[in-house]
Every structure is written in C-alpha cells, then in structure tokens.
Symmetry: C2
Subunit: 122 residues, 2 copies
C-alpha cells in the first residue's frame, strides 16, 4: 500500500503537471469511483454479518470493532476524490483486481498510460 | 455516571481507609463481577447481531463500529477489578438494576452499607 503513494511519472508535485479532466472523463471517474466504493462497503457489510453470526465467545465481539476501524481508516485513506489523486486510486484498484483498465475506457491516453504504468508488473 | 465517582464515605482517598476483603468476600465479588460483565457482553453481542441483520444502507455499517467503540470504552472504565473500586462498581450495578443488593450477600456490613448508601435514593 505505502509504495503506491510514492512519486510516479507526471503525478508527483515536483512535476507540477496537472492533467485536465473533461466533463466526460469526470463522469466516467465518478461512476468507477462510486461503484468501487460501493463494492468495498458491500464486502464490509457481508463480512460483519458473517462475523456477527459466527461469534463463538462474547468477547470476540471486539474483533468486529477492530475489523471495522481498520476498514474505515483504509477506505477513508484510499477513496480520495481529488482529480489529482484519482489516477493513483484507479491504478491501485486495477492492481487489486477491483476494477479493470477497460472500466476506465474514455479517459485520455495520459491517464490510462499512468494506470497501466502502475499495474504492468503485477 | 460521573457523580458515582465523587468521594463517598469511607472510600475516598482522603480517608485512607481500605476495607479488608476476606477470601470468602473475594469469591463473592469475583462471581458477581464476572456474571455482570458477561451479561454486558451478551447484550453487546445481541445488539450487534441485530444491527448487522437490520442494516439498511451499507454505510450504516460504521454505526456498528461507533456503538462497539462506545460500549468497549464504557465497559473498560466501569469494570475495574481493584478491591478499592469494587464497592463503587457494585453500587453502580445495583443502581442500574443489573444486580441486586441480595447478590452481594456475604460481604461485610461496611461494604453493603456503602452500596446501600449509593443506591438508596434511586
């Protein structure tokens, strides 16, 4: 996870290069973002329902709290809807198999190239 | 809750009076303490199962986390098994109807008197 936040071509602050997002691209980004986030939340809900159902010892209930706290922090950190951050997020989501590069069809070549660059060795 | 922690006869540090606990009293205290704590945990488990089952929106899952964090902190604060603190805890538990004074039968008159003192206006 940490390594995904390291500087990468064209998106590090040093380059001071901010790609533009067309209205059409923004629409695509919003849809992919929302769907992926919804999927994460659905998985958390599913997992919590299972954990609650399968509790063996009452004291294990705190494991549910720990799980939720961990997931909330990680989701909060990952799902950062700033246009400058979206290519990084999309690269991560492709790396994790949560979305495919094809879901991003319609973004310009610069953004898609960045996502491919992030994911090509995975 | 806060008011329960205010100084009370015989138990404030100023009095420097620490009642003795006989082995028999310690056994009673342990049993009452464990049963009350178990009951609290059972209620938390029950509530979490209901919350998980009744989730309407995925994002409501974080309410379960908030509920658990609140309960854990409050249970941690309340269930303090130091002999100096037990009469306070038992007084609280009687006040809340979680235990009855009769459950403490076998503690000496000083301790029972303190519990009754804490609970008489409730």
């Amino acid at each position: 996870m940490e390594s995904m936040h390291s500087p990468a071509p064209d998106y590090s602050p040093v380059n001071r290069h901010e790609p533009k997002w067309s209205p059409q691209e923004k629409k695509i980004a919003r849809r992919v973002f929302d769907q992926a986030l919804q999927q994460e939340l659905d998985e958390v809900v599913q997992k919590v329902k299972e954990m609650a159902r399968d509790l063996k010892e009452p004291s294990e209930v705190w494991k549910i709290e720990a799980y939720l706290t961990g997931r909330r922090k990680s989701i909060d950190a990952d799902y950062d809807y700033r246009y400058s951050q979206l290519p990084l997020l999309f690269g991560q989501l492709v790396s994790r198999g949560r979305i495919r590069v094809e879901d991003l069809q319609g973004l310009d070549e610069e953004k898609l190239g960045f996502v491919r660059f992030m994911t090509k060795n995975r």
